[in-house]
């Protein structure tokens, strides 16, 4: 070999390892999943078979997400058994649905629940009933079953090639950044401690139990980004951190989230507890899917799945609910004394005949964030990188996605083995319609390649480890708390009962979290129970 050949071959081998073509054809097995679009979209065409049967029930619950299940759970707990729950999909759970394979159970959506504060009575009662909360559910600091508290280490952040513990950027944070962190957290502490009129906390979960002082409500009219600027907080790291919180909880950039909602995220959580720190969360391998599974144990036989409520009309004595049974391809007309409508509110105008025009407008005003959730099955965990070890929640700084959660983290297993990573991506950087279109038009291969390329940054060996990559597309994952919406008259209109129909959904709060859905579900059930006993 002469010198020229030698140098050429060197250049060639350097290229082999350094300049691979952009598209890697080596993708793992996998598929694209999602809510049954054609079932829901059928509402637009309205071609359903005429009801072939008429049946009666005390209460019909439409929708088996957390709100619907909570309503059913409350009715069942109170000894009221005369109800039916209609779920469009093949399984209940809504945003908290989950999956399972040979390696682990894993979430398809919501994956944790922060420890509820004293105001979240309904959620605490539920957790006590399921054995998660131990002892008095109304105590200032109750205890929780430690198997369900997130194991350490909880979260880490990847920046500049290093993993750090915790989510607030510390690597490369200047003194100025640190000073602004302190100022921001002092501000949050003040909000956390502030009580408004009638002794209500400034920011409470459920939001309905928050104070309505005018200066607090005014925060709803500006964006979270604007609020930071008003406070002369301009640290790029702090802005990333706050924006991340908004994207993670609301599926929306902080520039499009109301400051009231943004602050609510940071200042409402005060779950003081006996046996843990306050920023602890409850979680399970299948995420909130565990709660879904446990909640419905007492009434699973009253859940009708594959059932699309396609027409709802109030008569003098009852509500007529036409339910299309997907598997049987026929409709059943249910005559219900009351209906708890616990599906997303954008569906309501499509099925509620004679819906009040203002209410209709309110429903149509809600903006929904599209999400993508991927579950990656790995034959073994990636090699540890630099810094903090693999945690439950793992976030990449500056990524358009939200990072990944290790579903096997909450496993009692004391040795390493195969794992499932749940990767979250809120398509928050563009108008909802555009994002939704992109979500559904982009094929599985392209999403998978984007995800793997992104994960290759901290984990160069990830492609060798992933054996399965499934993607779930959520077109209308959660309602966005855009500025002006939460404390608007339109949103308020959704929360009052409409004759025999009670609305119950986190959409009523203006943002999508478990506790809000649970609150409205239980509240609707309580209304119904009151009427039933009268």
């Amino acid at each position: 070999m002469n010198r020229r050949d030698f140098l050429l071959s060197l250049a060639a081998s350097a290229c082999l390892s350094g300049c691979q073509p952009a598209a890697n054809p080596l993708l793992p097995a996998g598929s694209m999943l999602g809510p049954s679009m054609e079932r829901g979209h059928r509402l637009r065409g309205r071609d359903f078979p005429a009801p072939s049967e008429t049946r009666k029930t005390g209460v019909a619950i439409v929708g088996g997400g957390i709100a619907g299940l909570s309503a059913a759970w409350k009715l069942n707990k109170s000894g009221f058994g005369d109800f039916q729950l209609f779920e469009l999909e093949d399984a209940a759970g809504g945003n908290a649905r989950s999956g399972k394979n040979a390696v682990s159970a894993y979430p398809w959506g919501a994956h944790y629940l922060p420890l509820p504060g004293v105001e979240a009575r309904e959620t605490r009662e539920l957790l006590a009933d399921l054995g998660v909360l131990q002892g008095d559910p109304y105590a200032e600091s109750p205890s929780y079953d430690e198997r369900f508290l997130c194991f350490a280490p909880q979260e880490r952040l990847y920046r500049h090639g290093l993993w750090q513990e915790g989510m607030l950027p510390q690597i490369g944070a200047t003194r100025r950044d640190q000073e602004q962190y302190r100022r921001f957290f002092t501000l949050l502490d003040q909000f956390r401690q502030r009580h408004g009129a009638r002794g209500l906390r400034a920011f409470s979960i459920p939001a309905a139990r928050s104070a309505r002082d005018s200066d607090l409500v005014a925060l709803d009219r500006i964006s979270m980004r604007h609020f930071l600027q008003q406070q002369k907080l301009d640290s790029p790291l702090l802005h990333w951190y706050v924006n991340y919180g908004c994207r993670d909880d609301y599926g929306s950039d902080y520039a499009a989230v109301s400051a009231w909602a943004g602050l609510h995220y940071f200042a409402s959580r005060d779950g003081r507890v006996g046996n843990v720190d306050s920023d602890q969360v409850l979680t399970w391998p299948e995420g909130n899917g565990w709660l879904v599974k446990e909640m419905q144990k007492g009434f699973s036989e009253r859940i009708v799945s594959g059932a699309l409520a396609q027409r709802m009309a109030e008569t003098r004595s009852h509500v007529e609910l036409d339910v299309y049974m997907q598997r049987e391809n026929r409709s059943v007309r249910w005559q219900a004394d009351r209906v708890i409508f616990a599906a997303p509110m954008f569906v309501l105008p499509h099925i509620f005949e004679g819906l009040d025009e203002k209410l209709k407008q309110a429903c149509q005003q809600i903006r929904y964030a599209p999400w993508l959730v991927a579950n990656l099955t790995l034959n073994s965990l990636p090699e540890p990188g630099h810094g903090a070890p693999l945690s439950w929640d793992n976030v990449l700084y500056g990524s358009p996605a939200l990072g990944y959660v290790n579903a096997t983290h909450q496993n009692l297993r004391s040795h390493e083995g195969p794992a499932v990573l749940t990767y979250y991506w809120a398509l928050s950087g563009e108008p909802e319609k555009v994002a939704r279109q992109r979500l559904f038009d982009t094929p599985w291969q392209n999403w998978s390649e984007s995800i793997l390329r992104e994960l290759s940054r901290p984990h160069p060996d990830i492609r060798d480890k992933v054996t399965q990559l499934d993607i779930f597309r959520w077109g209308h994952a959660m309602s966005k708390p855009v500025p002006g919406w939460i404390w608007s008259a339109e949103r308020e209109r959704l929360t009052v009962p409409h004759g025999r129909v009670y609305l119950a959904h986190s959409d009523l709060s203006g943002f999508s979290i478990f506790e809000e859905a649970n609150y409205w579900g239980v509240k609707a059930a309580e209304h119904v129970l009151k009427k039933a006993t009268v």
Partner: protein, 499 residues
């Protein structure tokens, strides 16, 4: 001829840089702190080259013959440098740096001699202007080629030992080639030919035997002869022997030395088991070596021993190798013993049985996975499987080297309502080691021991159960799944206090 000599400049320069890179990489690999290692190696090497250049003026006669000999010497010194350093490091840690810098100095001086000699040889063919330009061009080209090839091709594919041997061989070949080119002008051709042949043969032999050399060096990273290695899905098992001392390492951590393991295992088993009235069912978690089981089998009343160890390769090994079967006295073949290869936490979570005596002998809490096995959640589970009058014993790392870790385990056991009796024993190969007995009823040390023992006796009780001031209890957090306090304690303590 001049082209040929210029090409040899290219090779010689490649070799020179290669030795420098090998020395730098090897020292940062073995000693750490790569910035310091690389900059001191490069500095020493350049300085040595300066010395070589200076010394070249004293070579007056027989330029070509000296050049050939310098090449052969560089080939030898540089070629065997990595192998020599590996072996020195593995055998005796002390003079490693001395040998390292000595070698760097020697190679540097020899390499420093090369270029001036070549230039003087080539002087007959070029004017000064062209000479300097040509020689330095090929010198730097050679350096570029190696600096690219070293990290991309050589180090990852050949390894350091074979890389340096390969370049040594190239030096020797350059010498042989020069010998051929100047065969008509050289005096003492025969002697030079023999030297060339010998050096080439040595280097070639080294290159062919490099595998053996590598494993020899690795073997010596463990002080004694390696008699068994196996990489299982869960761990790397290495066994060594020196005279009659067999040592077991899991992932590089010493598990036992056959010379004093009786101290460890007698102290682990007997203070508790002797105090259990009518022990019938026994559970051993971890301890796939069967040595704890050997001690338990000294109690004829024990009817059934369940051994739960994650790694089937580990239990199979201690069932199979005669040397190990002699050590555990065939304990794992006893009809009373049933072996379960499963994750202890998950297995215990599924099991519904009660035990009169439970041995918890897990590896130290070096990571979050193992840390789970020391949490209150695990001990709550343990408590549920312990019969009313039963006792459990937990290996609890060293109360001397990891004092907070030790008392954290005690605190965590007590937090789930168990009563504890902490004690410790001296196991020379480990140092001062700690155990904790946990039970529902208060524990009293036995007044006599029935089994025939070499270490534990009733007279030893005061020594076992009393803690000197430097190991006395300290306040700690409770180790929970959601704080993993113990892993944090352990990490900071062993990092700073390990002997």
């Amino acid at each position: 001829m001049s082209i040929a000599l210029l090409f040899s400049v290219f090779v010689v320069a490649s070799c020179g840089l290669a030795y420098e890179l090998v020395a730098g990489a090897l020292s940062s690999y073995l000693l750490g702190d790569s910035v310091t290692q690389f900059s001191t190696i490069i500095g020493t090497y350049l300085f040595a080259m300066g010395i070589g250049s200076y010394l070249s003026r004293f070579i007056v006669k027989g330029l070509v013959a000296r050049f050939i000999q310098v090449e052969l010497l560089v080939g030898l010194a540089g070629g065997f440098s990595a192998a020599l350093l590996f072996v020195i490091f593995a055998w005796v840690a002390g003079p490693f740096k001395l040998v390292l810098y000595g070698l760097v100095l020697l190679t540097g001086i020899l390499v420093g001699l090369e270029i001036p000699l070549v230039m003087r040889i080539l002087k007959q063919h070029y004017g000064l202007k062209d000479l300097v330009s040509q020689v330095l061009t090929f010198d730097y080209l050679g350096a570029l080629a190696v600096s690219l090839a070293f990290p991309l091709l050589l180090a990852p594919h050949l390894g350091l030992i074979r890389t340096s041997l390969l370049f040594g061989l190239m030096n020797a070949l350059v010498a042989a080639w020069a010998l051929w080119l100047f065969r008509t002008q050289l005096a003492g051709l025969k002697a030079l030919s023999v030297q060339c042949f010998l050096v080439s043969a040595l280097l070639l032999g080294g290159l062919l035997g490099a595998d053996r050399l590598t494993s020899l060096a690795e073997e010596n990273l463990y002080a004694d002869e390696i008699i068994y290695t196996e990489t299982t899905p869960y761990q790397r098992i290495v066994m060594t022997r020196w005279k009659d001392d067999i040592r077991l390492f899991l992932n590089g951590n010493l598990q036992f030395s056959s010379r004093d393991e009786y101290r460890y295992h007698e102290a682990l088993v007997h203070p508790a088991l002797q105090a259990v009235r009518h022990p019938r069912r026994v559970l051993v978690l971890g301890g796939g070596d069967g040595l704890a089981v050997r001690e338990i089998l000294k109690y004829p009343g024990v009817e059934r021993i369940t051994l739960v160890d994650l790694d089937p390769n580990m239990t199979a090994l201690f069932k199979r190798l005669p040397m190990l079967r002699a050590l555990n006295q065939d304990a794992l073949h006893s009809p009373k013993v049933s072996i379960v290869n499963d994750d202890a936490f998950q297995w215990l979570d599924r099991s519904h049985d009660f035990y009169d005596f439970i041995v918890v002998d897990f590896p130290d809490p070096t990571n979050y996975m193992l840390g789970k096995l020391y949490t209150n959640t695990f001990y709550r589970l343990l408590e549920k499987h312990l019969s009313q009058h039963g006792l459990a014993v937990i290996q609890a790392t060293s109360p001397l080297y990891a004092r907070k870790s030790y008392w954290c385990i005690d605190q965590t056991l007590r937090s789930v309502g168990l009563k504890t009796a902490p004690y410790h024993a001296l196991v020379p190969s480990f140092g001062e080691w700690g155990y904790i007995i946990a039970s529902h009823q208060p524990y009293t040390p036995p007044e006599r021991y029935g089994a025939s023992l070499r270490f534990v006796s009733a007279g030893l009780n005061p020594v076992l159960f009393q803690f000197p001031l430097d190991m006395a209890p300290v306040e700690t957090e409770i180790n929970r799944l959601n704080n993993q306090a113990l892993v944090h304690y352990y990490e900071s303590e062993w990092k700073h206090q390990a002997p």
